[in-house]
Symmetry: C2
């Protein structure tokens, strides 16, 4: 068990967040701590209290000092944020936008990486799922997520509300190139662009043209195109057709939740919000939300959080440690018999299987 | 078999379009002609040559005179339009936008009605689909479909492309009220708003506030809210939870294709582009596209087109004739044994079962 980076240290920021966030992050840390120790890597942790609960206590979403402090870390492990749907004390969406999205945008997380894989024994809602093993490279810093829009004559019968999707050559090109690079390292070497260029002409054509141009740099990678509506159909009728999907922020949000559902649920879906230029720390988080209804009951599946820790190690260059976590997770998943286990029991089992 | 409107005449516009459009429309007309004759209703038909093929021959998408002529009809039966994906002679999306979307916008088709029902013997890609019977009321004249956007410094490394979603109180309120009205006439009386208001704040809050306000007019109708990403999860894990979905133009495009897929495919999915104020004719079309790869081979399923004709009759007030078509379609679907039938054979069988 030799270390890849013998005397290395990971300076980790931990944001457990709300709801089931702290529970699943505890298990991810359990596994992470064990694997890095065995790999001879030191792990320094700094925990940040952020999220809906923190907002209720302090009125803070993401203070500038906290953001600057986070910038000094190597990576961020993130649980989940968000209040209970019925909690009217918190203005809707404020935590998501002023904290989660602010982190993604401020730290330039332009690659939102979301792998989807159907493991042997995991039940898919599909009758004939086939072999599912693809990744979605979702753009993370542009599109309809930029918060550019407004309300005119709000609350009157003449109200007009706008939302502006902003897309730049810079933003599209870097994420498309990342998708092709990842595809070039996979056996099937195929990229599918998902958009809606027959309606969203301006953004759609920027994406299409960019894919055509970048494809020339990767002659070994094939590519095709699907409208988002058609892509959702294939996601339930023929998900094994996908290898690498590249898409914008909003279509990526939609298609990755659907992908998580067809591969057995968001309890298993990991994600990385990655700054591939390494000008700021990347952030790794389960795709699932804070699930306040089951919080504190040891009912949440920490697998997505644990797999997010593997993506984190991969990004930092500890690919051996990352592979060990993935292998342990796969072994645990394939040994599942359908009985319910507590959150901590799943974490224990995966840590033991390392 | 008494006629609902004894001496009535339907002045019908028919737009067969491209690909499989003419084949499926031929069957829809076969069924429509038979049922209206039996109901004592006269049917006058005017066919319009429009679509990708017509564009190739004439350079026309939808001339103003044709649009004005269409306005004089009672309703429009529409097949499908669109060139083969590889056909580079036609600028991408031009037929969809300058013809199909121009019709929806010019004729103020603000209710894009898409029912989803899983029939007994139809295979769903879901292992346990349960009972699926809901309708989607998709807004049809606003949102990201308005064509409002632009390109700055196109083709350069500094390109910026925008897409603007426009949403008005007028536009949202009328479609939300339509959804609640339809829900009030259904057994479960439940409306689900699908949006992404935690990110698309301005448009999302207009939709949310409008639903809250309109809900007060319908105390017997319950309602809830789902983000579009979560809605796609429920669409594959628990589609029977839905009764009436109301959503914007783009989310409606996505969720209805997914809904069609989980209920056995877009060969069965009908839709109406409805002007509920009746200031212009409404248009009825299968959700599927022109499928150029199977065109002219009698391979297409005309059921969606035939069910679209039933929606057309319903809209014009011939509910008895509409129910007869639906009943014949259900009988035909439930007698399917899995053998392939030609397009015309399916139309014949449904016409015979009327
Ligand atoms: C919480 C929300 C803002 C977020 C998003 O829309 O990106 C979530 O759905 C996700 O996919 O990470
Ligand atoms: C062809 C296209 C413009 C259209 C749409 O996006 O509305 C189609 O997908 C539909 O759903 O009717």
């Amino acid at each position: 068990m030799s270390a890849t980076h013998p005397s290395a240290t990971i300076n980790l920021a931990v944001i457990p967040g709300d709801g089931i966030g702290p529970e699943v992050i505890a298990e991810a840390l359990k596994v992470l701590e064990k694997v890095v120790a065995e790999e001879g890597v030191a792990l320094e942790q700094t925990e940040y209290k952020l999220g809906a609960q923190h907002w209720l206590e302090t009125g803070e979403t993401l203070p500038d000092e906290v953001l600057e402090d986070l910038r000094t870390r190597d990576a961020i492990l993130f649980g989940a944020v968000g209040a209970a749907p019925g909690d009217t004390r918190i203005p809707s969406g404020i935590i998501e936008r002023e904290m989660l999205l602010k982190l993604r945008f401020s730290l330039d997380h332009f690659v939102n990486l979301r792998p989807s894989r159907l493991y042997g024994t995991v039940g898919s809602p599909l009758a004939n799922p086939g072999e599912i093993d693809f990744i979605v490279v979702r753009e993370g810093t542009e599109g309809p997520y930029v918060g550019n829009g407004g309300t005119l004559r709000g609350g009157t019968p003449h109200e007009v509300a706008t939302e502006v999707s902003l897309n730049t050559a810079h933003g599209v090109e870097r994420v498309v190139r990342d998708a092709f690079r990842r595809a070039s390292q996979r056996p099937r070497k195929h990229v599918t662009l998902v958009h809606k260029h027959n309606v969203l002409v301006f953004a759609g054509h920027l994406w299409k043209r960019t894919v055509e141009a970048v494809a020339k740099e990767f002659p070994q990678v094939t590519h095709d195109y699907l409208h988002i509506d058609a892509a959702t159909i294939f996601m339930v009728t023929d998900p094994s057709r996908f290898d690498v999907i590249v898409t914008d922020n909003l279509f990526g949000d939609i298609i990755t939740d659907l992908a998580a559902a067809v591969t057995g649920g968001i309890g298993l879906a990991a994600s990385g919000n990655i700054n591939m230029d390494r000008t700021a720390p990347s952030m790794f988080e389960p795709v699932h939300g804070s699930a306040p209804d089951i919080a504190g009951q040891q009912k949440a599946d920490p697998t997505a959080a644990i797999l997010s820790a593997a993506l984190l190690l991969d990004h930092l260059g500890y690919s051996n440690a990352a592979r060990r976590i993935e292998t342990a997770v796969v072994a645990d998943i394939e040994s599942r018999t359908g009985e319910t286990r507590k959150t901590a029991a799943i974490g224990d089992a995966i840590a033991a299987a390392l």
